[in-house]
């Protein structure tokens, strides 16, 4: 991947998080501590500030740098969770991945996020979007179809009862609200899909 392409990916990710920060915070206020939008925005703006330097690195190192930056700047559990996602992708991906390599790497990255959060799909978390995205990749879906699957998966967290994170303290009262981490994951998937589609 050319440095300009990776810069565009970072900009697309940071843009979508910034433009949806209020929505993410509102989702988190409903069933959490209400800092998700602000925390994610802080993290992705910190990544954007170093995008030029990050983008000159080989893809695996660039992804690890994004992950480390998120870990250090987000200021909540989302930091290690999204940071682990990017760091694991960096660890698993070759410099010029094909679809098979991307699929395999995402599978490993989901395992890493699952271990970091001590969570599984079905517990109303970001994993409930990542897992369907992985399955869509396996089934050979297009970038747009994958982004649509991610949106549907985020919507599908609404009727779920939260079993991890602050929302789990609410028990049944967490039902009827979308998980903020699932929503931000779907936003990132769509941004990346659109950037890849447009390149």
């Amino acid at each position: 991947m050319a440095a300009s392409d990776f810069s565009r990916l970072i900009a697309a990710a940071a843009d979508t998080i910034a433009s949806h920060a209020d929505e993410l915070t509102a989702l988190d206020q409903a069933i959490g501590d209400g800092d998700h939008g602000l925390n994610m925005k802080r993290g992705f703006e910190a990544v954007r500030a170093e995008a030029e330097a990050i983008a000159t690195k080989p893809l695996p190192d660039a992804l690890k740098a994004v992950g480390t930056k998120l870990v250090m700047t987000v200021g909540g559990a989302s930091g290690p969770l999204f940071g682990t996602l990017f760091m694991a992708l960096g660890k698993e991906l070759p410099s010029a991945p094909d679809r098979a390599a991307l699929t395999a790497a995402l599978g490993k990255a989901i395992e890493a996020v699952s271990a970091r959060g001590k969570s599984q799909p079905g517990q109303k978390t970001m994993l409930d979007v990542l897992q369907p995205v992985y399955e869509a990749l396996v089934r050979g879906k297009t970038a747009v179809e994958i982004a649509d699957a991610a949106d549907r998966a985020a919507d599908a967290t609404v009727p779920m009862k939260a079993l991890r994170g602050r929302a789990s303290f609410l028990g049944d009262r967490s039902i009827g609200h979308m998980d903020a981490g699932a929503r931000s994951t779907a936003l990132l998937v769509r941004a990346v899909a659109a950037a890849i589609e447009g390149s």
Partner: protein
């Protein structure tokens, strides 16, 4: 200092500092002690960088026990331990215990020269699972 160190990680700097005050009242300077709280930007939260710094300040060759409040403090502490890396990471444990009671009990145990394993076990007794 040969006693196990104690690190307190809360979403709130006030809670972390207050907990540290209670620990100091019990053990004085016999235990290496450090705290951190807040997201590093003036808000509630926890910062991996601040946790790594607190571990450095409370470092003891006997090891460090970390007491945390809510989920993000635990996740960020585990991340900090991983980023510190081996060999030091093998001597750091994130305890499953209430932050205030856990810190005071763990520090009291540590002040008598107990091993990291004993200190952690004392904290864990507060969270029967």
């Amino acid at each position: 200092m040969s006693n196990v160190g104690i690190v307190i990680v809360s979403h709130s700097p006030l809670v972390a500092e207050g907990t540290a005050d209670m620990v100091r009242q019990m053990v004085g300077d016999e235990v290496p002690l450090a705290w951190c709280g807040g997201n590093g930007h003036g808000g509630l939260g926890t910062s991996v960088e601040a946790i790594m710094g607190a571990i450095d300040r409370a470092w003891s060759e006997a090891g460090v026990a970390i007491l945390v409040d809510l989920g993000g403090a635990e996740t960020n502490s585990e991340m900090a331990v991983e980023m510190i890396g081996e060999p030091r990471s093998q001597k750091i444990v994130v305890c499953n215990a209430p932050i205030v009671e856990g810190a005071v009990m763990a520090a009291t145990e540590a002040s008598g020269g107990a091993s990291l394993k004993e200190v952690v076990a004392t904290a864990h007794e507060l969270s029967p699972s």
